[in-house]
Symmetry: D2
Subunit: 362 residues, 4 copies
């Protein structure tokens, strides 16, 4: 049975998106003889006048090693709360009925939505409205619980680890404390794993509110045993204990975290002041999100894409592909959202870090 | 209780060995206050006059990002069949009693042996002789069944994928068939995964004896649809069907495979002859075994090292550390050897490759 | 004639310093049979109690591919204005006599000083005081006029170019303006060359005070021709024209440049405000200074090191090694300092950038 | 004055070709308002039915970081000796008149030919026949004398250096002699510079016929001073002295060089036999020619492209662009061909290598 399927990519950039698109197109065309339509700029492309293009084999040629997404992703995004200009100003409106109508007009049998928690929530809602959806999870931060890991994350860890390797030699030559702020608002996986891979001395993650005194003591400790430099990796969502209690996000801002340009700058300043040590801060920012994916992410994106097409072939809608151990499986989209994958403060990875003498902020 | 533990690395080079050594030394010293001894050149360092050195924190400083092993590995190796010069020439002799005696003389409480199937077999034998052993699995080829994966493998896949990325542009500019021979004598994981990541058109692995006619047909097919180049990845242990039947290893040699310098050269020549297409062959060789490990391998080696020390702390000897899903676990060394991890010709990865239009030789 | 020579590294970190040290040690020992002493932490190691170590062949083994300097560099630095604690507080004092005395006590015949303009000025002064000096130029910014280029610069350009490659895919997927602030206080070479290599759309350098209106017009222009993203590379020393006139450094600070965390942030905010476009800023910072040098820098550092030893063999003191075209030559140290190498606003490189449609801020 | 210009790329692949094409297209269109035509597959595209395409700004978008050439290059090549099928079999025929006619029919004002010595010779001939030509030099081997260096070469050196870095750790762990055969048939620049950058112990180049006894002595020497491994870099065009005399190319083949798969294999076997040392050989092959160009090559290709367009704007035909020191200049095409750039056996680079203790085969 010949079909037409559609695909879109939503949310932040993530290396491996093109691998998914390519795998969907190739397996849909070569294995099933289907037609594939690419929706542009995430769900935005289904609001107002639809924006889409035909995805042929030629259209996806050579894109596997490339970062980003050839389909673009949305700036405005959420059709459940879409900014619509009215006489009373911009009002957030649910335009999902319009999305469904636009989708139907395309004549497509199913839509593959590649994205993070936000995108998957929209997918769930559209599925409830009768649109045949398949989800592919995407998160650079590795913060989705329904899949062991997803594409993009290992590339981000590699980018950060390479930066740490570079900073090591400078920190060592100059006897400095180098603070590196990395991505991870709710979950500190990138900080933890790249810190382990890049020989960090201190790793601060959102899951363990940090005690500044403990951090300073560990750096001072290193100094007294002859190591005159330290590498401190801080997830952007990490925050300090104050007076032994956890400081709330707003309170952290009161401490000047935001005003100074992020938690990295805050940590750098505090360490510099308390220890009379030269400090530098590096905020890696969007470099972590872009560029050619590492092989792991290319392969996982490819497997996810092929499995998503498989689900459509079996008319199993409302499912999301996922990785469990070595196997690609699928789960209910509705079960996949709202389930955050956070570091266990007492788990094996944190204990490994501490066994090596790394300070995790406590 | 203060202890002395020893560690050695055996078998072929593998990125991540230094991560294991560093983790063992740091966690043994910092967490337990133990002393660590490094045996040089694998089990060789326990034959004849023992060769070892003290492993202090300083001795392992800065080695995490470095390939190879600071302890060296063995050229002659196996103490169960050790080449001993006698009047009758070199005789392979079991010198394990000598190894045990030398180890006892060191005053060490346990020995961590990092290595592949061969090293683990020796470890099992020594454990049977009463030496307290802990195993850490190592294989660049990913061919051990007792662990989901081990360090070194992902680095090899990255090296091959980078080479494929480079070769792609040249193949495309010149309309050539490029044959790339990669490691993998018994298991084709490196060929399969780097082929998936590097957009290979043909992937030949030892698990699927290949039909040369099918390979040529797929290249010809590409040519007729306008793609005037092809990338063919061949595992060193791949071999052709002949006349519809599987050619045994010896027969493959009769086909001229060995004489011409490997299966890559054979495939290149056959394709060139049958299709009148310009072909080139690249044999990546030992480049796949060396150099700085990717973050994944640094982290896994580190976790394995810490877990090995943990096993000694719990006096759980005869065990080997392993990865299962996201967890580091341990298994009996005796159960770990002789169990090969090979690609399932009908499994998800092969089906993914075929869904993308990749020819796997059938 | 057997000699003892000394070497130190001063100023900021720079990939290739270890290549110089290794080449000096190897050629001094292997070719001349001399002894080599390494002064620690720049000229600091010759103030107070001298800090130095023997540099044997073993001491420099394996350091060629490593960033940083095994000798450390100075935090306090300048012996011509050295911070000395007195009753009246810290007073900057000329301690060069002490440096000379300490050097003489070492019994060394000559000192090779590797460093930038600051280090070379000290070397000139010490040479005037009778210390036999040889200079090796070092600047990550490529801002020394007496040598065509020096080591470290090409590594920095590669680090920035890789970051631009990564940011491109994200900017493109998200339709954003990405502002990347790179090193270059007085000279914009890193911005210009990495901008050319990394397909930047706007390149702002200290040599051409930029017209914000021209920058915005060029981005708007791209947008109207269908390119919904832009990459803007800004040297840290770049600054805006205001009202058609050049704003002095202090005035630039009045514009809020410093307060907001650098010129990159300023440019990002201004563009975002004026064009109603989403912008992001990345400040690459010290990542540009560290890590393994590219081959060019390893080779140039090596050639410089060998030539420096050659100068000592010929008792030609007060000279600095330099690159001219393909040749390693030498010049008077005194002629080398205070001569800044800046981009010619009307030169070939800027004209090349403009021919490609890159906006250079005018 | 509006013009139409054409461009083609000839000869072997070389990273940076796309940079030239992009720069030609962008500067021709944006600066001059011209039209650009891309000839496909080198001069082949002007034989028989012309094969060409319009090169718009869109056609060159995103190609700067990519290896290869979007225009393809020739397999058959030379229009001065073109294989034409006749009754008497394939006869090499001068089809340059046809090339000129085809070019004229395109209505183009000038042709930019990017290529090596062979391509430039054809360009000179066509210029003599009245076709307005501009040459851009291309050689991965750095063997053209008329330019200081050209694009592609630094990328090749980086690829080889990275491989040497990787092989070092394995050689060291296993106490092996690793022989690495690299490109360079007539000139050994890649071997020499990557050998210097990658800490080679022996470097063999075509310019210095090597004495096998000297090579073995240097490896033996290392072994006796405790270094149990060696890295030997061999240019593919290197050849041995025999009995103190230079062996001619044919004689080298008689020594079994070709039969065994190249000079690397020969050297590996000889060393292994003479020294009873474990050896391995790696032939890097076409990996050296492909993939993303390093920044230096992207920039140089870009500058060459812009200068080539400049020459056409000034109606200065018959010229070839070149690099001299820091400047892009131009020379007569006729003066540029047949002038080989070879290593000076007594020059600074070779003396630098020998000062470091590297054996260059004598």
């Amino acid at each position: 049975m010949s079909r037409t399927i559609a695909i879109l990519t939503g949310g932040g950039d993530c290396p491996g998106l093109n691998a998914v698109i390519r795998a969907v197109v190739r397996s849909a065309i070569l294995q099933h003889g289907w037609r594939v339509i690419g929706i542009e700029d995430g769900f935005d492309g289904l609001v107002g006048t639809p924006r889409w293009r035909e995805l042929t084999l030629d259209a996806v040629r050579g894109i596997l090693p490339r970062g980003g997404t050839i389909l673009g992703t949305s700036n405005r995004g959420n059709p459940l709360a879409y900014p619509v200009k009215t006489e009373k100003g911009v009002v957030l409106t649910d335009v999902s009925a319009q999305v469904v109508a636009n989708f139907r007009a395309l004549g497509a049998d199913a839509l593959i939505a590649v994205g993070g928690d936000g995108t998957l929530k929209i997918a769930r809602r559209l599925q409830d409205l009768g649109m045949p959806m398949v989800g592919v999870p995407k998160t650079i931060d590795n913060d989705l619980r329904s899949t062991d890991v997803t594409f993009g994350y290992h590339t981000a860890v590699e980018v950060v680890t390479e930066a740490l390797d570079r900073l090591h030699t400078t920190a060592e030559s100059h006897h400095r404390a180098m603070v590196v702020e990395v991505m991870g608002r709710d979950a500190g996986w990138i900080a933890l794993e790249s810190g382990l891979a890049g020989s960090a001395d201190v790793i601060l993650v959102p899951e363990i509110p940090f005690d500044l005194a403990a951090v300073c003591a560990s750096i001072e400790n290193r100094r007294q045993s002859g190591s005159r430099f330290s590498i401190i990796v801080v997830a952007e969502g990490a925050y300090p204990l104050a007076g032994g209690k956890v400081v709330q996000a707003t309170a952290a801002e009161n401490l000047g975290v935001e005003r100074l340009g992020g938690i990295g700058t805050f940590v750098s300043r505090e360490i510099g002041t308390k220890l009379d040590i030269e400090t530098r801060v590096v905020v890696l920012g969007h470099v972590q999100r872009g560029g050619s994916p590492v092989p792991f992410d290319r392969i996982l994106g490819t497997r996810f894409g092929v499995h998503a097409v498989e689900l459509i072939a079996q008319t199993r809608y409302g499912r999301m592909v996922a990785l469990r151990g070595r196997a690609v499986v699928d789960v209910e989209i509705s079960a996949a959202v709202d389930a955050l994958n956070r570091i266990d403060p007492g788990g094996e990875l944190i204990r490994t870090a501490e066994a090596l003498g790394i300070c995790v902020g406590r």
